[in-house]
Symmetry: C2
Subunit: 354 residues, 2 copies
């Protein structure tokens, strides 16, 4: 397969980890005989420094013309601590999501056997947990009308959803479930919210097109509880924007390491892949950043193009690295490997296993 | 002190557990020489059966005229499973909260040393955790305008808050913090929501009246994470209705037993105290229901009237019962005590310790 991949390393540790992900993708291309072309562009603080714009038009253009975007991380304290800053690095990602029409945020969470002891949860509760959250990314209360009364004494946020917005995400979630354990859980608050009732009706209607996938419903407050009590019960969680924001951050603690968590943001024509962690400026250039979240984001990219064998090869390599303790210092305090060395190990394993 | 307490046992295990709480309150009255008067009324399924109304006018009248309401639990499968049921037991509680003007929901969460092994979280993460959530109960998106477009293709919920609604809850939370570890955390989503910005401004303004209490802010998605990563960091959490709904249910898993979790709902003139668990119909009359959540709700009642020594006596008795393993079967599988026997132990301990 021929793929044109836009690479946006961004700020902080973004460039170091993205470099390892590209290395891994090149190893995959070599082993499985694909043609992956990479083109880099600036975004975030790096782009503000160079052009004044966190998402320069050329960067958006490159991404729009690419098959996929591999994204590093953005954010720099220089801008966070400046209350007069008119543009912020984070706008680069928000504008990019908007410019590419990305409406689905996909967050897998997995408890790796080797890392059970890192989790705040007891091992027996999480061993085998393997879920993915499909979160709507462009609608709901975060993007609704906002207002404050003239006297400043009251404020309002409006939450709206259309059937269309719900449908397009729902199809993605059900298709994902078909390739997994065939179970979708819709998280809503349908006993109280009108938008939730529209979600429930729309998702139930669509579910009849996927007879091999079961559907159940959970109120968001109960879901927040169940996520900790028994995360193994979940396969695909489907939910609206704000509930997905809360639940995906809550779920991120299950695996015990934020350095392993990948994500995808998907639209009709474009898809962007990025670790959930930030730019971690204080670690920049020290060779201590964990590249695995970026590398697992690359695995999601492969999966997105139905390169399942290829994605599996990357995941197998990661499992092996954890098993062999070839890890950065966040996971292996005493005998740790550098960012680069972890990337080298994964690259080597992918090529040799072929 | 003279207190008139309305007792609403409700359905399922409600009567059994409430009976133990009344027994404990009588023991407190005896030891500390108070005059507590109890008057019972029906609510929920029991009230529908008797009168057709889950909150008969006489019940509301009794509660409105009482100093406090001790509430059991409501709900019966007979009504849950009947799609044609026009009135539901749960409406009894909603109408009561409305009728009494209860605007603050207070949910303490504590990790008892003796029960650390029951928690899904690792003991070292939760040992010493002791927090309380102040949740706004009458406003926000749950009670805002709801609408569906004429073609049924989109739905809307409106979230509104007024300064007044925020102020009255905030004062309660800061006063509670003054008697605790003097720290309030406002949970909001002020980077996105206009209502959250009003919360932040209003709470920050009020905090200047409480110079001995520190205030910090946390976005709700991060709070959902921190609640699991490090619940010990929290003292008083202050938040709006829906965030409070989600976070208080999430936090309820920390202690490892829902059978110990009490709550209060407070208004200008009235206050209601109830366990967070439901009516558990399948356990009714078997003598296996854990009365401690109801008894700790009674301790919150005492605290509400500044009877701190008295509340402490109840809590000490509960700690002792856990220590001695005088527990119902949910906490002590092999050698358990009945609902009644646990109540007797606590009653005896309170009187004898005097
Ligand atoms: Mg978030
Ligand atoms: Mg709830």
């Amino acid at each position: 397969m021929k793929l044109k991949i836009a690479v946006l390393p961004g700020d902080g540790i973004g460039p170091e980890i993205t470099k390892q992900a590209v290395k891994v993708l090149k190893a995959v291309a070599e082993r499985f005989d694909h043609d992956f072309q990479f083109e880099e562009a600036i975004v975030g603080a790096a782009a503000i420094d160079a052009t004044g714009d966190p998402l320069p038009p050329e960067t958006l253009e490159l991404c729009a013309g690419a098959d996929a975007v591999l994204f590093g991380a953005i954010g720099h304290p220089k801008y966070d601590n400046d209350p007069n800053a008119k543009v912020r690095p984070e706008q680069g990602l928000l504008n990019l999501r908007k410019g590419l029409g990305l409406f689905a945020n996909i967050r897998p969470v997995k408890a790796y056997t080797k890392l059970l002891d890192h989790s705040p949860l007891r091992p027996e509760r999480i061993e085998g947990a393997d879920l993915v959250i499909y979160r709507e990314l462009t609608g709901g209360i975060y993007f609704g009308e906002k207002s404050t009364s003239e006297d400043g004494k009251s404020a309002t946020d409006v939450c709206t959803y259309s059937v269309e917005e719900i449908e397009r995400l729902t199809h993605l979630a059900f298709k994902a479930a078909q390739k997994r354990r065939k179970r979708v859980t819709l998280v809503d608050k349908a006993n109280v919210l009108e938008t939730s009732r529209l979600w429930r009706k729309t998702v139930a209607d669509i579910s009849s097109e996927y007879t091999d996938v079961s559907l159940d419903f959970l109120f968001v407050d109960n879901a927040a509880m169940q996520m900790i009590l028994d995360p193994k019960q979940f396969d695909v969680i489907l939910t609206e924007n704000m509930f997905g924001d809360i639940l995906s951050d809550e779920a991120s603690v299950i695996g015990g390491s934020i350095g392993l968590l990948a994500s995808a943001s998907v639209g009709e024509k474009s898809a962007l892949f990025e670790p959930i962690h930030g730019s971690y400026p204080q670690a920049t250039g020290k060779g201590i950043a964990n590249p695995v979240a970026s590398i697992l984001s690359a695995a999601m990219l492969l999966e997105h193009f139905n390169l399942h064998k290829e994605a599996k090869a990357v995941r197998d390599a990661v499992e092996e690295s954890l098993h062999m303790n070839v890890c950065t210092q966040d996971l292996n305090k005493n005998n740790y490997y550098s960012t680069e060395k972890v990337g080298d190990f994964l690259e080597g394993y992918i090529i040799e296993a072929g």
